[in-house]
Subunit: 236 residues, 2 copies
């Protein structure tokens, strides 16, 4: 079967070490990775993570906007719910998961059905940012992650707005990446002779054309950096 | 501002009660809902949730395939990681979150930036399904949720495959829905006079054309129920 994961290609650094006899016998559709490049690719491709926090002893999973400072290896996560949980339990671990769904895998047998995806899970104890300069930096990272060019274009936060902003910093120290790709795997076995269709229905996610605020006065054209988002995929 | 949430429309039942003087003064872009119809709409529109489970005292957020039995109000969640956590802590609560990202909201001020989304959070103590008949039922619900028509088309699981299947049932008793929609909100204030573009860059998610497994023998055409997925949105 055609293996599409880049970490299976020879000559690309540390990934080769992982392809031992044992890993060769694992299921090929699903791959784990601890390569920084794979983690970064997943993080670059989105702007909303699902943050798991502990609230009164039970997990709560909140979708939150994020941005990544790849220089300092820091994930910045926006959101008041998460921040409140941290104020209540300052040393509590969280898990931030970013997932891209690439398609439905329809096999001959129900058992072999699945989903193609790329997912990153980042674990750690987040830090609530209170310093004004760091808040500005984190917001810049987050804004530029979502819409490159937007930080310099939009009006910067004032001190009152900064005081009302909840931003967490989570180091990218402990993370794992899991992906699944490619066609179903039951074509080679006896189910391949059932005469049933099998394959993948891909799921595409892309930005559409920017839609101006109805309140926008006439004569303000869409800036080039926002036009550039239209039609593209997040992070591209 | 134009409010697009259906629960703001008059004459649609319980939603009207929520629109009191207090709720009228809340931010209009973001809306909470406890209406069953709103919950179901979010659940119908996806097939992967982010399941938050407690592992060794810390939250873990795992993307997992789900399906909904709207008759018994049961969320079926697939996955071995979640199942293992439940075997270790049978009475532990989980949180299953389904999120659809609809667009980036680019305002005049960084502070008013945001994301348009629809999200449902389901809380509860899940039950690991061990009964063979219920496993079959749950898998049918899950398969039909993802790809209607596929359960009758594909080969059903045999007893060995059922024994290797991990499926959880979570009642839809405790859930909340949160949505954000519409343009940015700083057009009416002083920032509206800055001469900056503002609006929404919509994010579209849709199935592409089905891609046949390269191992598929010649002469097997794509079934109508799978063709019907192509070009559509999940759950539509």
């Amino acid at each position: 079967m055609d293996v599409k994961q880049p970490d299976q290609h020879p000559g690309q650094g540390s990934a080769e070490l992982a392809v031992t006899e044992r890993t060769r016998h694992r299921r090929l559709r699903e791959q784990g990775s601890t390569r920084t490049a794979d983690l970064d690719a997943v993080l670059r491709g989105g702007f909303v993570c699902h943050l798991g926090v502990l609230v009164d002893g039970t997990p709560m999973v909140v979708p939150t906007v994020y941005g990544v400072d790849f220089g300092t290896r820091t994930l910045y996560v926006h959101g008041s719910v998460a921040s409140r949980s941290i104020v209540r339990a300052p040393e509590a671990e969280v898990c931030a998961t970013v997932t891209h769904i690439d398609g439905l895998v329809l096999a001959r047998s129900v058992f072999e059905h699945g989903v193609n995806y790329r997912s990153a899970m980042v674990y750690g104890v987040p830090r609530l940012i209170t310093d004004g300069d760091e808040l500005l930096h984190g917001l810049r990272v987050l804004t530029e992650h979502c819409a490159p060019g937007q930080w310099d274009y939009a009006r910067s936060p004032n001190s009152k707005e900064l005081a009302a902003t909840s931003l967490l910093a989570l180091p990218l120290d402990e993370a794992s990446v899991k992906t699944a790709s490619g066609p179903p795997e039951d074509g080679d076995g006896p189910d391949g002779k059932l005469g049933l269709w099998a394959g993948v229905v891909p799921l595409h996610t892309s930005f559409g054309a920017p839609e101006a605020d109805p309140a926008l006065p006439a004569g303000i054209s869409t800036p080039v950096h926002i036009q550039a988002l239209g039609g593209g995929r997040p992070g591209s």
